[in-house]
Amino acid sequence: MTTVLEARDLVKQYPGVTAVDGVSFSVAEGICFGLLGPNGAGKTTTVEIIEGVISATSGAVYYYGEPAGTRFRQEAGIQFQNTALQDFLTVRETIQMFRALYDRKADLDHIVEQCSLGDLLDRDNRKLSGGQRQRLLLAVALVNHPRLIFLDEPTTGLDPQARRNFWDLVQSIRAEGASIVLTTHYMDEAQVLCDDIAIMDAGKIITQGSPNELLRRRYQGLIIELPISDLTDELRQIEHTVHENLGIIEVVTSDVSSSLQQLSPHVRNLNHIKIRQPNLEDLFLDLTGHSLRT
């Protein structure tokens, strides 16, 4: 499969801090690549180096095998985490202004329809809700009919319904053939949208692969969750406890029936037991020992 984007050994140092420490990854054409990590992991810095917004201390970025340059700027669409738009401009004027900056121009009506902005075209930017604003920012990222789209934490601050609407939108864009680089600290978002992920912490990539592959590699089975308050002291000593967080013990097992039989004598109240699939958050907690949402 063709490689759209390749980051090679990116390093970004600020006085006293190495924000990005030797990050390398590649993005295949047509996929959604997720760069995950907690706040401060270095994912936004990494993406901004790739986008050319900030310069790297060392390392290189390649777009379709060539150093990212003019072609990259013409063909990439970018949605920043926080972007202010010009005051007193309407949605239509904002989209038109950004569209005029590119040689490649997407069909305006199509963008408006895709991002559901039809009823908002004459509204002042400042009067948009959080979800509407994110849709506008995505529309701005689509004005050049991009082959590669960067979405930096696009659903932060949105309510659950707006988040899911945004996911549908991202999937429709991807269905049209664009490749996507998504940075997020929401694991459910990554699990729904991403084909391939890299988890960053402290400026480094700590693991990389498809979500299912990473979970299969790490976990053989399901997770049983038990409230600590319901357990006897004996069970607290068992060795296969994978994590203890917020008053919950998580036990990984490949044989749920057998494990439940073993556990039941040591649990005061079985009504509070939950059995679920391992997810990316479990993986991150396992790998780094701290919460993704901190």
């Binding site: 917004v53 900030i54 700027r73 990439a76 920043f80 972007t83 202010a84 010009q86 900056l101 590119y102």
Partner: protein, 340 residues
């Protein structure tokens, strides 16, 4: 309630004091202005400027008691026609000649000329020969005629420099510039767009204000409207470009304000907006030439008051164009999209 007020008060104070660059400018600017003006205007400010028509460059006070008057700057002048033009343009309050027949010329529309004349006549009572009053040939220029280009130019200066300077700093602070950085737009293109936008807006405003003032006050307009329009356009480009240099890297509105004031105030004082620099030393007069506003006002006054043609103001237009090219070049070179 007071606790909340104090918390905000304290927070704002900390923000201000910890923004060292802005703090330094706020401290430094008044000092620079005080020293700069003291140097430029030299010791006690003279209230009146009087030209003395003579061959020598030295004022000989024993020729007439008036030449001993305090707070009057006496400027030796050799070219009578030029001196009379300056009297009519309020650049000299009075012109005197102490030859065989002592004479003086005054602009009847000049308030400062009126008081300078009173001082002359009082001191003349002690003289052996009575001084004679001469008429200025041609129409005297009212102060309104002389000051109108200055006010329009000053308005243009503030609008160009603050209008662009603050906006660019705000764009940089709120991340709009960063968003533009991610497009094919170059720094030169962005700067050029800002220059063009502000130039068009301020030129339109200046044309409207000029037209209204011209009609209502019947101000003097001897030259071509096209030439005057060209002066306004080229001048606006130059001043916007200067504002862009100042805002090219700054990330704090307070620092931008300090820097813009540091340039605007000397420019306003040394370009002859309110009063002529006729009495200032050659260094100050040459220093004033680095400011775009000086060239704008010289050219505009020449066109409006003296009927100067395009060729006559070409040196000013060339200077403004050169300054614009330098400012835009430096601005594009040092321009920074983001905060860091």
């Amino acid at each position: 309630m007071f606790g909340r007020i104090y918390a905000i008060f304290q927070g704002r104070n900390r923000e201000f004091l910890r923004d060292r660059a802005s703090f330094a400018w706020n401290m430094l600017l008044p000092v620079v202005l005080i020293f700069g003006l003291s140097f430029a205007l030299g010791g006690d400010r003279n209230a009146y400027t009087v030209g003395v028509l003579q061959d020598s460059d030295l004022i000989e006070t024993d020729k007439h008691p008036f030449l001993d008057t305090r707070y009057v700057l006496f400027v030796p002048t050799h070219d009578k026609d030029d001196a009379l033009r300056k009297v009519s343009r309020h650049q000299l309050d009075l012109l005197v000649e102490f030859g065989d027949v002592p004479r003086y010329w005054v602009n009847p529309d000049s308030s400062k000329g009126y008081f300078a004349e009173l001082a002359l006549l009082q001191s003349d009572a002690q003289a052996t020969v009575t001084i004679e009053k001469e008429r200025i040939t041609g129409a005297a220029i009212r102060y309104a005629d002389w000051v109108l280009p200055g006010i329009l130019g000053m308005n243009m200066m503030f609008s160009c420099m603050f209008g662009v300077g603050y906006v660019v700093v705000r764009y940089r602070k709120n991340g709009f510039l960063k968003r533009l950085r991610a497009t094919p737009l170059t720094a030169f293109e962005f700067i050029s767009a800002q220059v063009a936008s502000r130039m068009v807006l301020i030129t339109c405003i200046t044309v409207i204000v000029f037209t209204a003032t011209h009609i209502i006050l019947d101000t003097r307009m001897e030259g071509s409207y096209f030439t005057l329009f060209l002066v306004a356009v080229v001048g606006a480009i130059s001043m916007v470009s200067l504002g862009l240099i100042i805002s090219a890297r700054v990330t704090s509105e307070e620092l931008a304000g300090g820097l813009l004031n540091m340039v605007n105030w000397p420019m306003m004082l040394l370009s002859g907006v309110w009063f002529s620099l006729e009495g200032a030393g050659p260094f100050v007069q040459n220093l004033a030439k680095i400011f775009p506003l000086t060239h704008v006002l010289n050219a505009a006054r020449s066109v409006m008051l003296d009927g100067a043609a395009l060729a006559d103001v070409a040196p000013n237009l060339v200077a403004l164009t050169a300054l614009s090219a330098i400012f835009i070049g430096i601005g594009a070179k040092v321009f920074r999209w983001g905060q860091y």
